[in-house]
């Protein structure tokens, strides 16, 4: 087991009170596991991804722990986290198109980045070339500026950079959303390839795109309104989801591969509750077709079978 997240709480500070974007999230990730993380916009999945790597200015670590390879990550302390970033936890951000400094040659940027972590560039240079070849990029791109690269090239370049130090955990956030369909496939394959070659021990793939998740993920976790709704092996989640939300989510898609994007799901009436603060009980209650009296109490995220956990009174 490489990653263990225990009752993680991360709130956003706003002038009108805390937004409980992550409100007690518990899960773990096995070695070599690729976990897909899905949910509507604003459900907290990107917050979860950021929490594992770097909290942004308005996020506050309120409680819970994150343990990676037996070591607890100081996620609330930006400076101490630096030790783990890149080498232990790394990220392929959703903005890969603009993730590289536009005014530096890519090679130089990598050299400065690596150098700033106290690692001589020369020691990783040959590995860098090998990996560029692995994702189908020419070593010559290092001499270029980001603007001279196509979208797919930039995406792959960022993947190479992010995984350069063989991190234990890689968070890939919406890595394909900006790409066209054919490039998406290549990028997805490359991601899986990193895991297969053991360049990355485990991976969390955050996506709107269930087809991508279906394609590369071993397990899928569904989030709703700051909490986990369901986690299980990919086939189980896709074929026999137990949480009503997951069921609606899957059934709302006419076919796999269509994005549900930022728009409200047509099939699920109502909208997610405000998280400032969230209502008591099951957060899906208001929209849930199966809701009943018990739902006024918050359901636990409990295993119903090995490797398959659900937070729903109806499921247990």
């Amino acid at each position: 087991m490489s990653l263990a997240v225990e009752d993680l709480r991360v709130y956003y500070r706003t002038l009108r009170g805390d937004v409980r974007a992550l409100d007690g999230v518990t899960f773990s990730l096995a070695d070599h596991e690729i976990m897909g993380l899905v949910g509507e916009s604003g459900c907290g999945k990107t917050t979860l991804g950021k929490s594992l790597v770097r909290l942004d200015g308005r996020m506050r670590h309120v409680g819970g722990t994150v343990t990676l390879d037996g070591r607890e990550l100081p996620i609330g302390e930006d400076a101490r986290m630096n030790e783990f970033r890149f080498a232990e936890v790394s990220v392929v951000p959703q903005y890969a198109m603009s993730a590289m400094n536009p005014t530096r040659r890519i090679g130089r940027m990598v050299r400065e980045l690596v150098g700033s972590r106290g690692i001589p560039f020369a020691s990783v240079r040959s590995e860098l070339d090998r990996r560029l070849a692995l994702v189908g990029l020419d070593a010559e791109v290092l001499e270029r500026y980001p603007i001279e690269l196509s979208g797919g090239m930039k995406q792959r370049m960022v993947m190479v950079i992010s995984t350069l130090l063989n991190p234990s955990l890689l968070v890939a956030d919406e890595v394909t959303s900006a790409l066209d369909v054919s490039t998406q496939r290549a990028v997805a394959t490359a991601l899986a390839g990193f895991r297969d070659r053991d360049l990355v021990r485990s991976m969390i793939v955050i996506s709107h795109d269930l087809s991508l998740v279906y394609q590369i993920a071993d397990t899928v976790t569904v989030m709703y309104a700051g909490r986990l709704a369901e986690k299980g092996p990919t086939e189980v989640i896709v074929e026999r989801p137990r949480h009503p939300y997951t069921q609606l989510l899957i059934s709302a898609l006419p076919e796999v591969g269509v994005r549900y994007g930022g728009k409200r799901l047509a099939g699920i009436p109502g909208s997610p509750p405000s998280l400032r603060p969230p209502p008591p009980g099951c957060r899906f209650r208001a929209r849930c077709p199966l809701a009943y009296g018990k739902c006024a109490e918050q359901p636990p995220f409990a295993e119903i079978e090995p490797g398959h956990a659900v937070a729903c009174w109806r499921a247990s």
Binding site: V53, R54, D56, M81, N82, E83, F84, R85, F86, A87, S90, V91, P93, Y95, S98, A99, M100, N101, P102, T103, R104, R105, E112, L113, S116, R117, Y145, I147, E148, V158, I161, S162
Partner: protein, 330 residues
């Protein structure tokens, strides 16, 4: 890249054309006849004398040919570097008056622009990352940019010059000195230069610092900055990148602000009785010396255009995005 420069040059050429035409046109539609003014000054009584003088000045100013030819002659004169004869300092050519004043103005402007740009950017970037400092100095900078150049100059001249007596006020160097390369003369020159320089510097400084502070804050929120931080890059590296990238719009800003700073130099010179172009402008306005005013205006336009072009080149050198052929319109 050729297209980029071609386009720029076209714009500058058109601007120049427009400026020259406005410049030529306006005095011809305005009341007050320079020929009559010159003749009046001679105080001639006899009509024959007046007529002779009038004819002489008309031909000297080129008013004795058809209007279209006057326009062409005006262009011809510009291309030959001949901007006509000053009325105020007749019969001195406008060009020589301007060339006499330009070194002083440049001596004020170039250090003031470059130093304020440099220091403003440094300070702005520095303040952007210290919340407390930022809150403390930002209002000061805003007050500085909001200060009229001449008022700051008057305050400086009054407080530091007259009251405290730290610096001399007025003229570029003491009246008793003969310009030469001596320690005495140079210290005198510098002490006269300092206050006008400082007042120009301060106002411009505030603007640059604000611009840089805003740009750095914006850049620090840029994706590449977040990415670098996510990979554990130390803040130093992130800030270095942000600073460098924030500088780029500031270079463009330099081009945009040139005209304004030149204007500032004009009024500052007036306050300090510093005998550069600004002083000449006032002279020309007071004496309604059309030709001198035209000449100075053209000179400023040419200067600003040239500086713009230099900045364009610098921009291309420092920003790879323009070189990649993307920034046709920056």
């Amino acid at each position: 890249m050729a297209r980029y420069f071609g386009r720029k040059l076209l714009i500058y050429a058109l601007t120049f054309f427009v400026a020259v035409t406005i410049n030529w046109l306006i005095p011809r539609f305005m009341p007050g006849d320079p020929v009559r003014a010159m003749v009046a000054r001679a105080g001639l009584q006899t009509p024959e004398g007046v007529a002779a003088m009038r004819e002489y000045y008309s031909s000297l100013f080129g008013f004795d040919v058809p209007v279209w030819q006057q326009y062409l002659n005006f262009w011809g004169g510009i291309l030959r570097g001949d901007l006509g004869v000053s009325l105020l300092a007749f019969p001195e050519p406008v060009t020589s008056l301007i060339l006499g004043a330009v070194p002083l103005t440049l001596g004020l402007l170039i250090p003031a622009i470059l130093l304020s740009w440099w220091a403003g950017n440094k300070f702005g970037a520095y303040a952007a990352r210290k919340k407390v400092l930022d809150n403390a100095v930002l209002p000061v900078w805003y007050v500085l940019t909001a200060t009229p150049y001449m008022w700051l100059a008057i305050l400086m001249a009054w407080a530091l010059g007259k009251v405290a007596g730290l610096f001399p006020v007025g003229r570029p160097y003491s009246a008793s000195l003969v310009p030469e390369w001596s320690w005495l003369f140079i210290t005198d020159l510098v002490s006269h230069w300092f206050l006008p320089f400082l007042s120009l510097f301060l106002v411009a400084f505030g603007g640059w610092a604000i611009g840089m502070r805003n740009m750095v804050i914006y850049e620090l929120e840029a994706d590449y900055a977040h990415y670098l931080s996510s990979l554990g890059a130390p803040p130093k590296l992130v800030r270095r990148y942000a600073f460098r990238n924030a500088l780029l719009p500031q270079i463009t800003g330099l081009a945009l602000q040139l005209g304004v700073i030149v204007g500032g130099a004009v009024v500052t010179e007036i306050v300090f009785d510093y005998r550069g172009l600004g002083y000449l402008v006032l002279e020309a306005i007071k004496a309604t010396d059309f030709f001198l005013l035209q000449g100075i205006f053209l000179f400023i336009v040419i200067g600003v255009l040239l500086a713009n072009f230099v900045i364009d080149i610098v921009y291309v050198l420092v920003d790879p995005r323009t070189r990649a052929g993307m920034g046709g319109d920056r």
